[in-house]
C-alpha cells in the first residue's frame, strides 16, 4: 500500500522532531532549541523538495488540503482544522515570547591550562619540570612507596573526603551544597589524564588560584597551602593519582576497601 504523500510528510516531520528531541529526553543532554529550529527547517524543506519533485507527488501533497477546503462534504473537518491551526500558531508564538527566568548558563573550564610556575610554601615551582619526588620509589622501593601512598590516604580522609567522597567519586557529605560539584577522581577524564605537577598546583592554590576561565569565584576548593604541608600534599596526590582514573578505577575502589594497599 502506498502511503498518502501528505501523511508521509507529516510522519517524516514528526519523526525528525522526535530524533532531535531524544537526546534531551532520554540522555538529559538536550540539543539547544535554536539548533533544533534550524535542523527542523532543513528537514521540512528537504522533505517538501523531495515530495514535490514529481507532479504526482505535488498532487498527493496539496490534493487532500484542496479537497478539504473545497469539498462541501468535508465542511466539519475544515472548520475544525481552521480553528486548531490558528490556536496552535498562537500557542507556539506565546511559548517563544514567554520570558524565562532560569539561571544564566555559565561555562567554565574544568581543567584550565596551568601557569608555568607557581609560588607556594615560599618557593617557586616550575610546573613544566616539576616531578613528584616520591614517584621514583614506585620502582626503587615499592614497600616504601606503598607506605607513602597509605599516608596520602590518611591525609585524604582527614581533609578531602568531606567533598570528594569515600569512594573518590565526588559524592562526599557536603558535595550537594556546592556548584560546581566536587570532582570525581574515578572519572576517566580527571586525575588519570593529568600530570602530577598539575594536581600539586590545584591542591596548593585551590579555588582562588584558578585562572579566570575556570571561574575561581565559585570554586570551593580550599587553598591547601594554608592547611597541609608540602610533603603531605605530595603523598596525598600520590593517593589520588594511584587510586583513580581509567583502568585503575576498579583498583582504586579496592584500595579504599582494604586500606593496606
Amino acid at each position: 500500500m502506498k502511503i498518502p504523500r501528505l501523511l508521509l510528510f507529516v510522519i517524516i516531520v514528526v519523526i525528525s522532531y522526535g530524533i532531535f528531541k531524544a537526546p534531551g529526553i532520554l540522555l538529559n543532554q538536550p540539543i539547544p532549541s535554536s539548533l533544533i529550529v534550524m535542523y527542523m527547517f532543513f528537514a521540512v524543506v528537504t522533505t517538501l523538495l523531495w515530495i514535490t519533485s514529481t507532479e504526482k507527488g505535488m498532487q498527493g501533497l496539496v490534493g487532500p488540503i484542496k479537497t478539504m477546503i473545497e469539498d462541501p462534504s468535508k465542511k466539519t473537518l475544515r472548520n475544525i482544522v481552521f480553528v486548531i491551526v490558528p490556536l496552535v500558531a498562537g500557542g507556539i508564538t506565546y511559548m517563544q515570547l514567554k520570558p524565562s527566568y532560569e539561571a544564566p548558563v555559565e561555562l567554565r573550564s574544568i581543567h584550565p591550562a596551568p601557569p608555568s610556575t607557581v609560588k607556594v610554601f615560599g618557593k617557586t615551582f616550575n610546573l613544566a619540570t616539576l616531578v613528584n619526588p616520591y614517584r621514583k620509589f614506585e620502582k626503587e622501593d615499592p614497600a616504601k612507596f606503598a607506605q607513602f601512598v597509605k599516608e596520602g590516604g590518611e591525609v585524604y580522609f582527614k581533609n578531602c573526603f568531606y567533598c570528594h567522597g569515600d569512594k573518590l567519586d565526588g559524592k562526599g557529605h557536603y558535595a550537594h551544597g556546592f556548584n560546581p560539584l566536587p570532582l570525581a577522581f574515578t572519572d576517566i577524564g580527571t586525575i588519570a589524564q593529568l600530570q602530577e605537577s598539575f594536581v600539586f598546583w590545584r591542591i596548593s592554590t585551590g579555588g582562588p588560584g584558578l585562572p579566570k576561565e575556570a571561574a575561581p569565584w565559585v570554586s570551593a576548593m580550599p587553598v591547601w597551602e594554608n592547611f597541609i604541608t608540602e610533603d603531605e600534599k605530595k603523598r596525598e596526590r600520590q593517593y589520588t593519582t594511584r587510586n583513580a582514573g581509567g583502568a585503575m578505577v576498579r583498583m582504586g575502589r579496592e584500595t579504599v576497601l582494604q586500606p593496606n594497599f
Partner: protein, 424 residues
Amino acid sequence: MISGGMNHISLWKGMSGTSMPNWDDVLKEQERWDIVAYIKTFSGLDKPAKGPIDYKNQIKSSKESIEKGKETFKKMCAECHGEEGRGDGTKKLKDDLGFRTWPRNLTKPWTFRVDNDPKEIYTRISNGIPGTQMPSFADPTSKKTLSDEERWNVANYIVSIADDVKRPKDDTVLKAIRVEGELPDKVDDPKWSVAESTSFYMIPQIIAKERFFTPSLDSITAKAFYNGKEISILLEWDDRTKSIPGDEKAKEIAEGDVLEDSVAIQLPVTIPEEMEKPYFGMGDSVRPVNIWQWKSGKKDASEAIKLLNANGFQKVEQRDAGKTGLRATGIYNNGTWRVVMKRQLATEEKGKDIQFEEGRYTPISFAAWDGSNGESGSRHVMTTWSWLLLKPATPKSTYIIPLIVVVVVFGGELLLARSSRKKI
C-alpha cells in the same frame, strides 16, 4: 532488630547524611547479600531473636489516623522532636559514645537516613534507632510503649508533615516579585503567602580556617518582593533552638555556651556585567561584597542588623546600616526562624552599596549561625553563589502578539477558502 532487607537497602542506596555510601556501583547483588549474612553473625543474630518486623496491620493514612497520630505525637514524641516535629525539643540528647546529637527534623524527609515511607517510620518507632536515644516504642519492658495502632497513626502523621517547600530544588533563582504599594516588613504579613519560595542547601564552612564540621542547620528558604523604591527579603530556616545568651532555658539545651543565632545575605557591591563575580567567601581584593547580618539579640540586648563591606575575610569594614536604610526583624516559632530584611533599591553611597536593578541577575548567597551549636565567626553554614532576580512584570506584548498571530492566521484561512470557492 533491623531486618535483613533493611541492611541490604542501606548497602544498595547508602544512608543520606552519613558516611555510608551506596555500594551498588561496586558490589554485585550476591555480594551485598553475602555481607548482610556476614554482618548478622557479628552479634549472633544470624537466627532472628524475634521474627522480622510485621507490617500486616498497617493502617492506611487518613485524616482520622493523622489526627490521632498527632495527639500521640504531642504526648510521646514532642519532648525531643518538638511540638510541630522540627526537632526543636526540650531534651538534650547524646549518642552511646557520648557525642551530642540533635533530634531529627521530621518535616524534612530528604534528610532521613532512609526515607519517609510509612513502613520505614513505623520500623523506627517500633525498633528505635540503636546507638541513639531514640527508644523502641514496642518494647514491653520499657515505660514508653505505644500500641501497634498508635505507632501506625504516628507514622502517618509524620509522613503528613513533610514540607516540600523547604527542599532545595534545581532552580537557584530567587525571584523577587514586583508589587505596588508598601512592602511587607513583618514576618507574619499575609502578603508573603503569594511570593515564590526558593530553597538552598547550606553546608558548613569547610573552606578556610577554622573549618567547621558539626552543623545543625542544613537549608534556607527565601522569598522576596520589591516595588519602585525598596526590596524586602524573607528568610526562613529551621533551627532547633532559639539561642538567647543569658536565657536560662536556652542554656539548658545548648551545646556549650549560648551564642546568638544569626543569618546573613551576601551581595556583590557591583552587579557583575559578565560572569566574573566576587569570590563567594566574602569577596576578594578587587571585588567587594555587602554583607547584611542579622543577630537574634541577647537577654539584655535586642535583635540587630549589621552592615559589612568585605574584600576577603581579613578585610572587613563595619558600616552604619541605618544610614543605608537597611532594616531587619525576626521571629522564632516552633523550630523555625523567620527574618525579614528590607532596604532601598538605591542608596547614596553608590560605590559602597549594591544598587538593585530590575531584570538583572544578581549573585546572592546566604549564611546562618546556630548559637546553641557553638557557631560564631567562621563556624557557620553557608551557600555558594545563587541568583536574585527582580522579576520584571511580563510585557503586555507577550499576550498581544500571539493574539494577533491567531487573528492573522485565521484571516488567511478565510481568504484561502474564499478564493478556492471563487475558482469553482
